[in-house]
């Protein structure tokens, strides 16, 4: 009897376990299916947009009227951005799509620029025409390749979730024929974008080259010298404990990485110094614990930041932005040459409002352009430049400044800061041609929506 009861209980338990397992399995399945569907959608949308892109590029080449052509180019721009967004939704770690993505970006900025220009200047210049031809040819190849991959994927009923899982586990299937083809298509796009020589990455090759120029010819220093330089720069005495090692190959410049324990202020500094010349490019101080009372104002902090730079840098600088975040003041300085503000070569300093010490220092842009020379004589007067602005802008402040234009070239401009209604704007007018280079709406403080009241 007891035996039978036990069997009964066990059977019921077993049945429950079975149902539970089944349900978990179902849930997993449906989750994976959802994931798969969103990958499928992204992939097929992506191929579709590449297809359209190619067609629209062809149309742009055939069009003669400036307006209809700029319409086509605007369409190209929209499609390339859409395809770019769809690449971001695919498991890119598993799919070789980096070069394709880069191609889409380049095509995007190219088509945007020339859409605007072709409205203004009528027929295209031959150079531009050539670039467009190249993009068209490349888009054609990409379209072909992607079409094949799409067909292959559909025939083999490829599951992107499986592809993703294989990539994560690094199994041998990672080298399936489909992946090999993917590699090939992606690689073909690469050949093209390299021809174009476009920069990418956070440090455009411009900065890297400029820094290399500055460092060129400077003597290489030893670890001990670097250590001494760092301590001098931070004004810390020699008793501090320092560890130092070289930066890896991936760094933008040959350099040392230092960790400095300052017993006096009981804080830790992390610092990067170049090997050549021992220039301190960056440092940060790990906040000493407990110090969270503000003892100085943002204004005092900005004076401390300026004094810190003055002692270490010979150039004239101007404070262009200051912001208080909790217990830290963040300051942006730019070099001033002959009264001209050099915005792209900025220097960032953070000061703790608790103890007034410098918490952070970022000077790569600044040092990379240390000996940059630039035309600082405007060709048109401030009044002439101001005429080109929207008539409702009420100018409150003006300067002469160098900024980067859309092609990342440096241009000399008049900077006007003004208001229109309740909004404030920063406007840069070209000091040679009078063209409106940039109009930025200046952000106001953001209300606390409740996410993170502090």
């Amino acid at each position: 009897m007891g035996k039978n009861a036990a069997i009964g209980v066990l059977a019921v338990l077993l049945a429950f376990a079975g149902v539970w397992l089944y349900q978990t399995h179902e849930a997993k399945e449906s989750f994976a299916l959802q994931q798969e569907n969103s990958y499928q959608r992204a992939f097929h949308d992506f191929v579709y947009h590449i297809d359209q892109l190619e067609g629209e590029l062809g149309a742009a080449l055939a069009k003669n009227g400036a307006e209809s052509r700029s319409g086509s180019l605007a369409e190209v721009w929209r499609l390339s951005q859409q395809a770019h967004a769809e690449v971001g939704q695919l498991p890119k770690g598993a799919l070789p799509l980096q070069e394709t993505d880069r191609f889409l970006n380049e095509l995007g900025s190219f088509s945007y620029e020339s859409a605007i220009q072709s409205r203004e200047d009528g027929p295209m210049e031959s150079e531009e025409e050539q670039a467009l031809e190249n993009f068209y040819a490349q888009a054609g190849e990409l379209k072909e390749g992607m079409r094949h991959l799409q067909a292959e994927a559909m025939q083999q009923e490829i599951s992107w979730v499986d592809v993703e899982a294989q990539a994560v586990n690094g199994g041998p299937e990672a080298e399936s024929p489909l992946m090999v083809n993917f590699e090939r298509v992606n690689h073909d796009v690469k050949g093209f974008s390299e021809n174009e020589g476009a920069a990418s990455g956070p440090f455009g090759s411009n900065e890297e080259d400029a820094l290399a120029d500055v460092l060129d010819g400077k003597e290489e220093i030893s670890q001990n010298e670097a250590k001494q330089k760092a301590l001098n720069f931070l004004d810390i005495n020699d008793r501090a404990e320092v560890t130092i090692e070289s930066l890896g190959d991936g760094a933008a410049y040959p350099g040392y990485q230092l960790e400095i324990q300052d017993p006096e202020s009981s804080s830790v500094y992390m610092m990067d110094v170049t090997k050549q010349g021992g220039l301190p490019l960056w440092f940060m101080r790990e906040k000493a614990s407990g110090a969270h009372e503000e003892t100085i104002s943002l204004y005092e902090a900005s004076e401390k930041a300026a004094a810190f730079i003055d002692e270490r840098v010979e150039k004239e600088i101007a404070l262009v932005d200051s912001k208080q975040y909790n217990h830290t003041g963040a300051f942006q300085f730019v070099p001033v040459i002959d009264g001209v503000r050099m915005y792209p070569f900025d220097l960032l300093v953070e000061v703790s409002l608790a103890d007034g010490k410098v918490n952070g220092y970022q000077a790569i842009e600044f040092l990379a352009h240390e000996d940059a020379s630039f035309e600082t004589e405007p060709e048109i007067s401030e009044e002439e430049a101001a005429e080109g602005m929207h008539k409702d802008i009420d100018v409150q402040e003006s300067h002469i400044a160098v900024v980067e234009d859309k092609q990342d070239e440096l241009v000399l401009t008049y900077e006007f800061i003004g208001t229109k209604g309740d909004d404030s704007f920063r406007i840069f007018m070209n000091a040679e041609t009078g063209a409106e280079e940039r109009v930025d709406k200046l952000p106001e403080a953001e209300p606390v929506y409740g996410a993170s009241a502090n």
């Binding site: 770690g93 990418s200 956070p202 932005d321 970022q362 403080a445 209300p447 996410a451």
Partner: protein
């Protein structure tokens, strides 16, 4: 409009004596010693904005953040009162402000605590300048303005123009609600770096916390910097969310740790990174050498190691 404003200002100057009497709660001199500069936040800025609004120089929201709107108000005040026009609020300007205006600190602070939209113009009873309390759910008026929108037009003349649309009848009820609630949203604002919303910062803080909690502070800034470097790179999506939620990009997204509540440290790390701190020197990838499974990641040119993570180009 401009003329109206001038009339108001004149009106204020003429009867400032009388008005001062009608603000028994006004504190005499609450400014601290600091020189107030653009970008500053805190009670001194609240007082500055309230006082500038009192005599019509500042029409924006009193939120305690010295932004551009406040900056122009300060400069216009400096110009009108013959001070050096530099946007810095030093002792001389503070003295002038205190002479020319009145400040009801108790009222303003209470409004901020209760999360109401409000104004602080002189010449109109403050009770009429009080906005509705934020909708806490049980109020049910459905009309109360969200705390974000504090922009009310300045009072024009002596009427009750400063009065928001739905005060009056349900005012008492509103107050009850906030008292019960005790934790009302504070009608406050904060500085955010250009181009990022507070919600972006929050999302970044989540990612940093999920990926790098327990790492040294610099390591957390470094992870945030990698995300920002990706946004600026051609090979990655261009938005915070695009980068963070890119499939296979971050372990914390794959295993759900991104939804852990971030702490203040990760938020601070994100702000540092957005403000330009990049401990990685331009890295686009990072990995933990002890757990990294893919060969590919080891093939990236490495830049440096911070804490447990290796950062690579």
């Amino acid at each position: 409009m401009q003329q109206m404003l001038q009339t108001t200002v004149r009106l204020i100057i003429i009867c400032s004596g009388v008005i001062c009497l009608s603000f028994p709660a006004a504190t005499v001199d609450a400014f601290s010693e600091q020189t107030i500069q653009r970008g500053a936040t805190g009670d001194d800025v609240v007082e500055l904005q309230a006082r500038l609004q009192y005599n019509g120089y500042y029409e924006g929201t009193i939120d305690g953040v010295y932004g551009w709107g406040t900056y122009w108000a300060v400069r216009n005040f400096q110009e009108a009162f013959g001070l050096e026009v530099d946007g810095l609020v030093g002792n001389e300007m503070k003295d002038r402000l205190v002479e020319a205006t009145s400040y009801d600190e108790a009222f303003v602070q209470r409004m901020l605590q209760e999360g109401r939209s409000f104004t602080h113009y002189g010449g109109t009873p403050l009770e009429n300048q009080k906005g509705p309390a934020p909708d806490t759910g049980s109020g049910g008026t459905g009309e109360s303005a969200p705390p974000a929108e504090g922009d009310q037009s300045p009072p024009e003349g002596e009427g009750d123009e400063g009065e928001p649309p739905d005060t009056g009848g349900n005012e008492a009820a509103d107050e009850e609600v906030t008292e019960e609630d005790g934790e009302a949203d504070i009608h406050q604002a904060m500085n955010v770096p250009d181009g990022f919303s507070d919600n972006d910062i929050q999302m970044l803080a989540n990612a940093v916390h999920g990926e790098a909690r327990g790492e040294p502070y610099t390591g957390q800034v470094a992870v945030a910097a990698v995300i920002i470097n990706r946004m600026n790179s051609d090979e990655f999506p261009d938005t915070v969310n695009g980068v963070v939620f890119e499939p296979l990009a971050f372990e914390a997204v794959m295993d759900g740790q991104i939804w852990l509540e971030p702490n203040e440290e990760s938020r601070q790390a994100v702000l540092d990174a957005i403000n330009g701190q990049d401990p990685t020197g331009g890295a686009l990838y990072f990995f933990n050498p002890e757990t990294a499974e893919s060969d590919w990641i080891w093939s990236r040119p490495q830049i440096k190691q911070i804490g447990k993570h290796i950062f690579a180009e």
